[in-house]
């Protein structure tokens, strides 16, 4: 396909620098994969546990490249009419009723299937936009299987066929990010068309840098302690391991409470910020030797 997306980034190192500039810290694999998605013009499928920055990645790319972010939030029961386009039936009906009685049916028919009566939904909007665009399809796993079929057409050719209007092809290929929590396995066909990035909990060093970048005013010492403690919690057999978002919340909590050290009593008092199941909290209290 001859249509090329804008060259947003020139190398993986450039991705790393530009995303860091807007406050998103990457590592080697994230930077390389984002760069490849852009260079090969393929959609990027980002999978991983909740709260590791999947959606943030798309937002950061949009911000770094000064593109508009168009977001399609997936949910059960999402259909073509909500994802792609819909005819504005009510307006069409009004138009027919308001038509002068002597007007021929043919011309009325042509009138009501024009751009004026077309309701643009995120996928069509992203394709028709002339400026540079980042299309975020969030929580793809929540949508039904039929939606994947719809995405296949849009994402492989970047065009949409509207029977009454004809085929609308992209003038400028958007940078597409799909995210998934792996609540259900996405189809092979969709995965094959995408580049795949598995975002996991970060290495301690990177997480510490993220905390330092996101929570101004936190001491490096405290951030280090915090990240190590969170890592220990993740290693326990618990239902829901704390995410990066929760680590950041924890840092903010400690800061707000004016605690500058993370000792047993501080952890015991604020454990609810990172662990959100009663059984997980009990387990952590037992394993870490916290006294209430």
């Amino acid at each position: 396909m001859s249509l090329h997306p804008d060259a947003l980034f020139i190398s993986p190192a450039d991705v790393e620098r530009q995303l860091a500039h807007v406050g998103y810290l990457t590592d080697e694999s994230i930077a390389t994969t984002v760069f490849l998605a852009q260079a090969l013009g393929k959609p990027l499928l980002v999978e991983g546990p909740a709260g590791v920055g999947k959606t943030e990645l798309a937002k950061a790319v949009a911000k770094a490249s000064d593109a508009e972010l168009i977001r399609l939030q997936c949910y059960e029961g999402l259909d073509e009419a909500r994802a792609l386009y819909e005819w504005n039936y009510k307006k069409q009906l009004l138009r027919i009723q308001a038509a002068p009685t002597d007007q021929a049916w043919d011309s009325t028919h042509d009138d009501i299937f024009t751009d004026e009566f077309l309701l643009e939904r995120p996928l069509l909007a992203a394709i028709r936009r002339r400026g540079s665009t980042v299309l975020l399809i969030d929580e793809t796993d929540k949508a039904d299987v039929e939606v994947e079929g719809l995405l296949l057409e849009v994402l492989s050719d970047f065009q949409v066929t509207i029977p009454e209007l004809g085929t609308v092809a992209a003038v400028r290929r958007p940078f597409v990010v799909l995210t998934s929590n792996a609540a259900r396995e996405l189809s092979e066909a969709l995965k094959r068309r995408c580049l795949y990035l598995h975002l996991d909990y970060p290495k301690p060093e990177r997480e510490r840098d993220i905390v330092l970048a996101q929570v101004p005013g936190v001491e490096a010492e405290l951030a280090e302690q915090l990240v190590r403690t969170v890592n220990t919690l993740r290693a326990l057999e618990i239902k829901k391991a704390p995410s990066i978002a929760e680590t950041i919340d924890w840092a903010r909590t400690l800061l707000a409470l004016g605690m500058d050290e993370l000792d047993e009593s501080a952890v015991a008092r604020t454990l609810g910020v990172v662990l959100k199941h009663a059984s997980d909290q009990e387990r952590a209290t037992k394993e870490l030797g916290l006294k209430g």
Binding site: E28, S29, T33, L36, K90, R192, C194, L195, P204, Q225
Partner: protein, 462 residues
Amino acid sequence: MASLVDRHTAFVAALRQAGLPVSVAEGLDAVRAMQVIDLVERESLRAAYAATLVKRPAHRRTFDTLFDLWFPAALGDGAAAPERHLRTREPGERRVPPALDPEVRARREELFELLLSGDDPGLRQFARTAVAEYGQTPGQESWFSSGVLRAMSPETLMAGLLNAVLTGQERGGMAEQVARRTFRDRIARFEDLVATEVRRRIAEDTGVERTARLAVRPPLERLDFAAATRTDLAALRREVYPLARRLASRLTQKQRLGHRGRLDFRRTMRASLATGGVPLTTHHRPRRPHKPELVILCDASDSVSAFAHFTLLLTFALREQFSKVRAFAFIDATDEITKYFAPGTDVVDAMTRMAREADLVWITGRSNYGHAIKVFDDRYADAITSRTSLLVLGDARSNYGELSLPILRRMADVARHAYWLNPEPRNQWDTGDSAASAYGELVPMYECRNLAQLAAFIEELA
């Protein structure tokens, strides 16, 4: 260029052989990706391959192992030669026990510093030289990680490492737990690096393809329950909740699909007001979902306990998909264990409490299916009704004891459905004391040896 293409195709072939579904289109994507990245950066190349070829997290370990073999970090002793001369042993040189060897002690101190500071590139270089020096015993051709790990014995450095960080702090508290965890991770990383390095040296000696076949382990979902190590079991337990969530969403989807309920006349009429009385869209009543009652009867003897635990965990994690779940465990007597799996209880606790408190042993403490079924029938016969799905978990090895076939036949007749999951490979059924086909005639028996098979079955069931 030709050699790079050859290497690429061989690598893709090896991935396919290891069970990764790599399509031709994905292979081409990888080649395209290689044209735009800097091939000198090895980690870039790894990321490019991973992004284009590996689309399931479960396959990532296999991929990394194979990548390290096909695109090794170094050749021979490595290009970045260490400052000092590599130690090589003369044949016939007298061996000093590692603990007394001053050279080994110096190296261990070096390792100590690296582990303390968490310097990853340093650790990588250290692992390379350590394998070059200690990975090969004189007179032996092959490479082993055991020699390196014995000489360096990183585990024994733990006490010193903890002392170094926890100076003057109270021991036994959270600080120690956290520090211990950090160092355990770093030591595991070192052992990993050594293993990778050893595989690389073996591959240089005997060929990449052969090493690849030996080095690759099956991904977690295909791992045999019986062959799982303790770390595997912990990893498997962690998989249970995500798996349950995946299954649950697929089940609700299946229920919603296909049949729509009856037309909801009121809602359809109301909606039609917006379009001038023309009912453009019809509305339907939701269908009442079908939720079976489930009774699980599971063998809790050691031979199948790992398997039984997972099935129990998974069914209880999927509790919402069934209108009622009751579980019974047996060895040679039967007891109800439902109460140990109340919502919100801790997984590990539930298992230990079940083993300690439930009354499972009658005389011998070896499985006796016949007596267990009889006790179940005496005490809990009312658990099975015409709405129940009965699920039996066990290897059907009754130690040549009685089988109570008539009672089981009656139970299976009363129940709406009955299934038997057997964790043994099918070709071992009916060998020795196994009564697989005797039971299999009454209750359809399925082989269930790994997480993938278990998930497929549960989906069938609900």
